[in-house]
Amino acid sequence: MRFIISFCFVLALLLIGRFTAEGNSCGIIENDSLPQQSLRAKAMALNNQAIKMQMSLKEDSLKEAMSLLKDAIRIDSSYSLAYINLAEIQCGMGQVEESVRTLKCVLKKECINDKNILFGIANCYDILEEPDSAQIYYRESLDVFTQTICSYPDSIQLLANQHFVSFVANNDTTFLVKFLKKYEGKYPNVDFLKESWSKITKEKYLRSKVSADYQSVLQKEIDNRHKTKSN
């Protein structure tokens, strides 16, 4: 009996070791050797450095920013903000499949259905011209919104986000109009939203997520996916 327990323990250690050595499903090797607080501080510093790199808007800087964010995740694999920042840069640079993978990693890590992450994944599928997959995630996102709003019915911010997600999911700007009408005077600076939303379309929103400079990268990805599916 004692031998079996020891064997199981050693096997478990070996498996954990193998997993951390090969990286998680995001392809990023994690480091759990430091206390959590210290890990988070280090990861946050890397994340903030990446944000500054991103602001220079140059390709080299964006690649460097991605590398820093991967380092941040490696140090603190539960730091979801770094995943989100990484996923948005990946998407912006036309690496939309990678972006989906990164966002799905957050869901897996957090073991929760984050409404924003679900929305992000849906956006990616829409960009990849896979509307059926996109709709699944839009629905999930809106379900989580409904549940959250039940707990925080007075959060206008939450309602604004929900209406925006509904607009994209349904490709219907009346959701935005409804929100603006209903919450005029209640939402801070509703005029600002009104001005910005007055010209928005779903297409414009999705286009804003991928830089025009990387459209060819994206097109290649879309073509490859179509080929794989047809095969």
């Binding site: 903030n48 944000i51 602001m55 808007l57 903000l81 920042n85 924003n116 911010q157 910005s196």
Partner: protein
């Protein structure tokens, strides 16, 4: 208390700071707003600014070199307590109004033109002054008591009565824009100086101005941010003698947003020049709630009559959102000028 006596404009120019050439161009024609600028004869008022020939009947084009005589009432020269002179005159060569402003104030004028967040002078009124650390006592107002210290445009749309951006866009696109003060942009010349489809400004001496606005950062996937990450960019582009100057400001609802902007010059679709927008040394007019991204300029005349585009890229970050670490919005690129 300093007493200011009535002097001629020439005498005043010797002893007091003179408004910069750029500001002259922006606010030329400061008057009561109803009569507009006068031509050199000093008798006939019209709502634009005179063309290079000074002809009242000619096209309303400002060549950048005419500093003209502004008609109507100017604000008087005030004292440090803001009481000002009361001996103003009106008319073709008048330069005194009925109320003064504080000529000793040295603050910046990057606040809102609507007065909501502008600088205060000693008497507690809202004013906007160049951000060069110098007082500028030559800034006239519209002759009314303590107005916002901004020159009138000399047309129907003045700093006191600006044209909304949407109305401006409609008029500009329909070719009926006659010049004036545009909300969030500042003074924009007449559309008769050119439009985005011609290339009159490449080598010519005429001046082209246009305004732009666009949004980005529609939704950040971070919990408690979402639509709050939205940002809007407003600005203007000015082309004169081949020199392209871009000014831009931005607004978002996120505290601590730090903006970054880059302009690129594309010739036949290829980026040939790129510049980062930096805050203007002489300040800028900005709509309430907006922050200055900056300005940048370059000369495009060396590229001749090629297909030329000016592209502006803007992004912002929030370096430490609620103590959880920073995030940035994905940059938005927009063509703000196209020669074809």
């Amino acid at each position: 208390m300093k007493t200011v006596t009535r002097k001629s404009l020439n005498e005043l120019a010797k002893i007091m700071a003179v408004i910069s050439e750029m500001n002259q161009k922006m606010y030329l024609g400061g008057t009561s707003g109803s009569t507009g600028a006068f031509d050199e004869s000093g008798t006939t008022g019209y709502t634009g600014v005179p063309d290079i020939t000074g002809s009242a009947s000619g096209p309303i084009i400002y060549d950048g070199g005419w500093t003209g005589s502004a008609g109507g009432s100017y604000g008087g020269y005030g004292n440090s307590d803001g009481s000002g002179s009361t001996s103003g005159t009106t008319g073709v060569t008048g330069y005194y109004g009925t109320s003064g402003y504080d000529s000793g104030f040295t603050g910046s004028y990057t606040g809102a033109y609507d007065g909501s967040s502008g600088c205060l002078n000693n008497s507690g009124n809202s004013y906007y002054y160049p951000d060069n650390g110098n007082s500028n006592p030559n800034l006239p107002n519209n002759g009314s008591s303590y107005n916002n210290g901004v020159f009138d445009s000399g047309s129907t749309y003045t700093s006191d009565n600006p044209c909304s951006y949407d109305d401006y866009c409609i008029q500009m696109s329909s070719g009926t824009w006659g010049g004036g003060f545009v909300q969030g942009v500042g003074y924009v010349g007449s559309s008769k100086t050119g439009n985005a489809t011609d290339d009159v400004a490449i080598n010519g001496s005429s001046r082209f101005t246009s305004a732009f606005n666009f949004s980005g950062g529609y939704y950040k996937l971070v919990d408690s941010v979402g639509v709050q990450s939205l940002f809007m960019v407003k600005g203007g582009i000015e082309i004169e003698n081949g020199n392209v100057t871009v000014r831009a400001s931005a607004r978002s609802e996120v505290n601590g947003a730090r903006y970054s902007g880059v302009i690129e010059l594309l010739v036949n679709g290829t980026v040939v020049e790129s510049q980062t927008l930096n805050p203007s040394s002489c300040g800028s007019f900005i709509q309430g709630g907006y922050s200055e991204i900056g300005m940048a300029s370059f000369n495009k005349s060396k590229y001749g009559y090629a297909d030329i585009k000016v592209q502006l890229t803007v992004s912002y970050n929030n370096s430490n959102y609620e103590g959880t670490g920073g995030w940035a919005v994905w940059p938005i690129k927009e063509i703000i000028y196209s020669s074809k």
